[in-house]
């Protein structure tokens, strides 16, 4: 089954979730806590993340959506973005760039 990445705030993280990207917490530019992608979160990890001021993590989950559901979500995201950018000039590179970047993010 495919995996999908989700970015969750601290209070929505639970033991057993798998990190989809490495988690690093730094203070004054110095990394003081790190966990690699693929690591399975433990209760102790969650305490450590909170104690060190971590606010979120990227987790990988099995994507249980069907191809049809995925396609329908894509269409809905694209329609929503069209509405949000309806008054912007999408010929301008900066506008088009942000539009494309958000669309790519919503395709995860």
């Amino acid at each position: 089954m495919k995996q999908r990445l989700r970015y969750l705030p601290l209070n929505e993280l639970v033991e057993g979730m798998v990190l989809g990207a490495s988690l690093t917490i730094a203070e004054h530019g110095v990394t003081n806590f790190a966990l690699p992608a693929g690591h399975v979160l433990t209760e102790d990890n969650l305490c450590q993340i909170a104690r060190r001021g971590g606010e979120f993590a990227c987790v990988a989950e099995e994507d249980q959506r069907s191809e049809e559901d995925r396609a329908a979500e894509q269409v809905a995201h694209a329609a929503q973005l069209q509405r949000i950018f309806a008054n912007a000039d999408k010929e301008r590179p900066a506008v088009a760039g942000l539009y494309a970047a958000v669309l790519a993010y919503r395709s995860l």
Binding site: L5, R6, Y7, L8, P9, L10, N11, E12, A21, E27, H28, E43, L46, C47, A50, R51, G53, E55, F56, A57, C58, Q80, L81, I84, F85, A86, N87, A88, R92, P93, A94, V95, A96, G97, L98, Y99, A100, A101, V102, A104, Y105, L108
Partner: protein
């Protein structure tokens, strides 16, 4: 009947707002001196028992994550455990949340301000400018709307109705029609009266400009709001992106062809986290 407000009237009627938290100015003034800042920050916070209690409660929850019996009751201990920069962030957000709440603004206003503050902070990493200044600019960027809602609620509602009836209408044009001034101008006047730093005043004034001046704080505020609206973080039907300044992108070194998935995910997750904590 549309108002034709003059700039002088904005400050006169600002007396209807609660007192602006001077702790914000004092934090921004002491950013460069970490040692002086710690003692000063604790003294500033302890002057206000409501803010002290809120800061300790948030620090306690953050540090202990509700998993131990230990309880933080002392600001010195709170600072030593969560760090100065985190405490500064908490104090800024708590002070401005209190100001927004006492001004009678709905939760949607504060949620949008938090999201733009977080986005501005995250963009400040790319542009290498102050996280605290970026947070304050994001939290205060729409302060002119808060004045409008408090001082002339009827006209404020009429702006909202105009926007609903004509979704392609520029909010600044609608505000000028009903008020004679837009929220960016009103925000500039308020921020000046509250003696906020010139860079914060400029960010509030220019955040809606199609072609804002080339300045990093203006850029993080302008793009922060564009990103928050593009992601529709507040999940309502009014989110709209009108301008994305190429100058702002250049000033921060942003090339939208890069991978922004992690940045967007970070902004969404942190906004949800901080909205939960500070609402």
């Amino acid at each position: 009947m549309p108002l034709h407000l003059k700039e002088s009237e904005i400050i006169e009627r600002a007396a209807l707002l609660p007192a602006f938290p001077t702790v914000v100015n004092e934090i921004l003034e002491t950013l460069d001196d970490e040692n002086a800042a710690m003692g000063a920050l604790i003294n500033l916070v302890e002057r206000d028992p409501v803010i002290t209690a809120r800061v300790l409660s948030i620090a306690n929850a953050a540090v202990m994550a509700g998993r131990t019996q230990r309880d933080l009751r002392d600001m010195q201990v709170a600072v030593s455990l969560i760090g100065l920069s985190k405490l500064r962030e908490i104090v800024l957000a708590v002070s401005l949340a209190k100001f927004s709440r006492e001004s009678g603004m709905g939760s949607h206003f504060w949620e949008h301000s938090i999201a733009v503050g977080v986005a501005a902070q995250e963009l400040s990493r790319i542009g290498h400018c102050s996280r605290d200044f970026a947070l304050v600019c994001g939290l205060l960027h729409d302060i002119g709307q808060l004045w409008m809602a408090r001082c002339h609620p009827l006209e404020f509602q009429m702006v909202r109705m105009s926007m609903e009836q004509a979704p392609d209408l520029d909010i600044l044009d609608a505000e000028i029609w009903h008020f004679g001034l837009d929220h960016c101008t009103i925000g500039r006047l308020l921020a000046t009266a509250w003696h906020l730093p010139a860079s914060v005043i400029s960010a509030i004034q220019h955040h809606h400009d199609a072609h804002p001046p080339a300045d990093k704080l203006i850029a993080v505020t302008h793009l922060g709001e564009a990103v928050v609206n593009a992601l529709n973080i507040e999940r309502h039907n009014h989110a709209s992106v009108r301008h994305v300044s190429a100058t702002a992108c250049d000033v921060l070194g942003i090339d939208w062809r890069d991978d922004f998935n992690f940045l967007f995910g970070r902004i969404e997750a942190r906004s949800r986290n901080l909205t939960r904590i500070f609402s």
